[in-house]
Amino acid sequence: MHLLSLLIFIPFGTALLALLVPSRYGNSFRAITLGVNIAQVIILLLVLSHYKYEGGFQLIEKIPWISIDLGAWGVLQSEYFVALDGLSLPMVALSVFILLIATLSSWTLEQNRKGYFVLLLTLNGAILGSFCALDFLLFYVFFEFMLLPMYFLIGIWGGTKREYASIKFFLYTLLGSILILIVIVALYISIKTPDTSDRIVHTFNVLHMQDFNNLIPDSLLALDSIKLVGVFSFRYWAFLLLFIGFIIKLPAVPFHTWLPDAHVEAPTPISVILAALLLKFGGYGLLRFAYPIFPDAAIHFSWLVGLIGLISIIYGALNALSSKDLKRLIAYSSVSHMGFVLLGIASATVEGITGAVYQMFSHGIISAMLFLIAGVLYDRTGDRMIGNYSGLSSKMRSYAAFVLIAFFASMGLPGFAGFMGEVMIFFGAFQSSSVNGLLPVWMAIAATLGLLLGAAYYLWTIQRMFYGPFSTKNVTADLTDLNRREFSMLLPLALAALIFGILPQLLLNYINPFAGDFVNNLFQRGNLLTP
């Protein structure tokens, strides 16, 4: 059963077939896309039924893909290697769920439906491919493959400043992926497969890359390489490049400036995908590639990771507080919440790592909900300025209810998914100084300020927009309550935010084994090197 391949390639194949359908059958494209989403949900259920609660990779599929003779330097070998573990499974499940919601949210789209849904399907396959890939080259290809569909989806179907936003998104992300590419090139040259044939086989296999025995002696990334560039050894530089590459995607301060623009200009479904899924590649990349491959550097730089996380938490929250545009506020709250992910990763404790993965998952659900909420308002009035509304709760009752749920969930109120992630990150961050001494306690204390600010900007927004007497400025459109389609999108998200807040075990069963292995590995291998 090639479940993962089916999950990845059904959207690609369907996109190709959909290209052949004439564009005058406009309505069929959304139905086709929805069909793919439903098929993916079914496959996901099958995947879950096959997956066992234990560490390590499962549902492995591995076939040779590219093999190039490099002459005297050996052979370049890349595999089609996909599998799931406790990190990627929650991400894949989240993707399938969110992509379904995104299709529903695109249902009323009118302009050039063929192009839109074909791009959406391509994006779908690329996202799932990236989360499943365990070959660095394969990951990179899927990762880059997300760029173009995203560029066009923002650039064609976006808001008024869409062109600027889309090119900014593209350039930032490409810069990040170029940094990652440098490390990929350096890594595969320095890594050989464990088999002992006479020819050196350079591999992109991430699992091989994580084993120090596979490092080629005298290569620049070898453990005992004393060659320095500037102040750091090559291994440290490689880690830093990966780190910057992935936190551009995350995004963390100071590489976050593309995010508010992209979010504000993107159409609602694309904002949802961007916030709920694409941002997750930042944290995913660190946990999957940067940390396990360079544990020595990761331990060395954990203060930096933590510090950038902390700055993102505070800075993002302050920006959100001062945002006048609802979507911009949500975008900055994403920056702040992703800062927690960095903090959890930096703590390098089982709790911290579990919390980071949990936070990524819960943020996926909650931010999707938040952007849908902003979209509902924008659809009706074409205006998202917070100051232009007040007393909405009297006009739009169920809408206000969902806004409350989403805001409280995002604030991290107990009982919602956001709470579990953040509380575990704080456990990890506070423990870190006594368990492994990586993060000073003040960082954890300072991060609590982020929670406070989070409560402030959400409550203030609720107060401004929803309470008091009803009035609007510059808005003439009729403010009707949620329709059935919007209700059907928001309800499952709200339920998910509740279920994963009340029954965290549903997710922890998957994440815990992964986090345990991750931390063990990190210190076993990372400490070998620290004198």
Binding site: W65, I68, A72, I167, A186, L220
Partner: protein, 490 residues
């Protein structure tokens, strides 16, 4: 007796030049056909030349692999290395004729000029002697000057004249440099032991000057900075198929001889000059200046001219590594470069036939009206940038692999700078490569713009090139394995 040996040598050598002989006879026949054929039957000429190139191509394939054999008393050498480049030239010629549509009286002249350049390119790739080098280089240059003016308007003449003036100066420099080298070594055969022995460990500053004079002409030929100034003018004014041709065939021919020349002057690493650094220096210059200049262009062909300058820089990276593998990757890059360049120019030509494209802004919104050509252009541009899922990515990946490995061995800071510059420039390049697709798809059409003339054969042609780029991304092993078997000794 002496004469007899020479004569048998010549007659034996001729047999190895079958592809060139086919080309020469085609040239003569085209000339005659042009004189006697009715003006409306010019299609025959095109079909005839296509057949010729195909025939020459398959002759080379038939005789693969080649035992290295010295021809005409050391003037040339036929080996797999030169044969590989000859294959690329014939492919380039074939694709050019396929997208050309020069009609009327000038059709036969057009084809003859292309024939002549191909012949020159083949001879240049095989040259082993400075005299042969000058001759074949001029055989490429003179018809190129004429072809550059083939739009027969003021602008085209200006471009052609500029090309000519720069070109003759470059040739003059080279001849002067060669005369100095001849004085130093006493031989014109740059593969001979005499050449190496005379120059090895020579710290003579004259050698330095002479090498640079020769390099000037070669850098000019491949349009590398600082001898690139002709390229934008020529590219802008010449007919698009000619530009596609000039940006591939003379450039690759120049590259082939560049490789040989640098390896010869490198004297197996015994040269007093750091050749790896020198090549890396020119590569950096070309990449940076080419890309930065391309950023501000609005004329699409001028932009592609600067892109082509930057691509020369990327090709030179393979040589800067001074390793067999690096040169193999350069050859792989050359194949991909040929495909993507022709793809881009062919689509551009298709647009040009329907609308006036003086500026990239003329493309605004056309992507929705003519999806297939616009899509092909998008893929071509992505490939030129070096993004997956196109072979442009694979080519860049391999080139940078060789650079990294070379850096690991040498720890030369120049190579590290080259790598950083090259990678950062990929991001800069994206900005202008994406300009046209951006306008095609993201902008609203200007009122009154119509879909371009749709032609099934052209769309099919573009799609085949697109497929090739994607195929070579998915399965590059075959081509790379084949290139890896090409060995060459100087």
């Amino acid at each position: 007796m002496e004469l007899k040996v020479q004569l048998t040598g010549i007659s034996e050598s001729v047999g190895h030049l079958l592809p060139e002989l086919v080309l020469i006879s085609s040239l003569v026949i085209s000339l005659l056909l042009g004189l006697f054929l009715k003006k409306n039957k010019q299609t025959i000429l095109y079909i005839f030349s296509l057949a010729t190139y195909l025939a020459s191509f398959f002759i080379i394939i038939q005789t693969w692999p080649h035992q290295p054999v010295s021809l005409f008393g050391g003037m040339m050498r036929l080996d797999d290395f030169s044969a590989f480049f000859k294959l690329l030239f014939f492919t380039g010629g074939f694709l050019t004729i396929l997208i050309s549509k020069q009609k009327g009286e000038t059709a036969s002249e057009y084809i003859i000029l292309i024939d002549a350049i191909l012949l020159g390119a083949c001879l240049l790739a095989m040259s082993m002697n400075f005299v042969m080098l000058i001759l074949s280089m001029e055989l490429i240059s003179l018809p190129s000057y004429v072809l550059a003016g083939f739009a027969f308007d003021r602008k085209s003449s200006e471009g052609s004249l500029k090309y000519f003036l720069f070109g003759t100066v470059a040739t003059a420099c080279m001849i002067y440099g060669i005369s100095l080298i001849y004085g130093l070594s006493g031989t014109l055969d740059f593969s001979s032991n005499q050449f190496i022995e005379a120059l090895i460990d020579s710290k003579d500053s004259l050698l330095f000057v002479a090498s640079f004079l020769i390099l000037t002409a070669l850098l000019f030929k491949i349009a590398a900075v600082p001898f690139h100034l002709w390229a934008p003018d020529v590219y802008e004014s010449a007919p698009t198929p000619v530009v596609a041709f000039l940006s591939v065939v003379p450039k690759l021919a120049g590259l082939a001889i560049f490789i040989k020349m640098v390896l010869a002057l490198n004297l197996f690493g015994q040269s007093a000059l750091p050749w790896s650094m020198i090549v890396a220096f020119f590569a950096i210059l070309s990449i940076v200046i080419g890309n930065l200049s391309a950023l501000v262009q609005t004329n699409p062909k001028r932009m592609l001219a600067y892109s082509s300058i930057a691509q020369s820089g990327f090709l030179l990276i393979g040589l800067a590594t001074m390793s067999m593998e690096g040169i193999h990757f350069l050859m792989f890059y050359a194949v991909i470069f040929l495909i993507m360049n022709f793809l881009v120019f062919a689509v551009l030509h298709q647009f040009e036939n329907s609308i006036n494209i003086q500026s990239v802004h003329n493309f605004a919104g056309l992507g929705r009206l003519s999806f297939l050509p616009a899509f092909s252009l998008l893929i071509g541009m992505i490939a030129l940038t070096g993004l997956p899922p196109t072979a442009g990515f694979t080519a860049k990946l391999l080139i940078f692999t060789s650079l990294w490995t070379s850096y690991e061995d040498s720890h030369s800071i120049t190579l590290l700078i080259l790598m950083v510059v090259g990678l950062i420039n990929t991001v800069i390049a994206l900005f202008y490569y994406l300009k046209i697709p951006y306008l095609l798809f993201l902008k609203e059409p200007v009122s009154g713009s119509v879909a371009i003339k749709n032609s099934f054969p052209r769309n099919l042609f573009h799609l085949i090139l697109v497929m090739l780029l994607i195929y070579l991304f998915l399965l590059p092993g075959g081509l790379m394995g084949w290139i890896n078997q090409i060995t060459f000794v100087l």
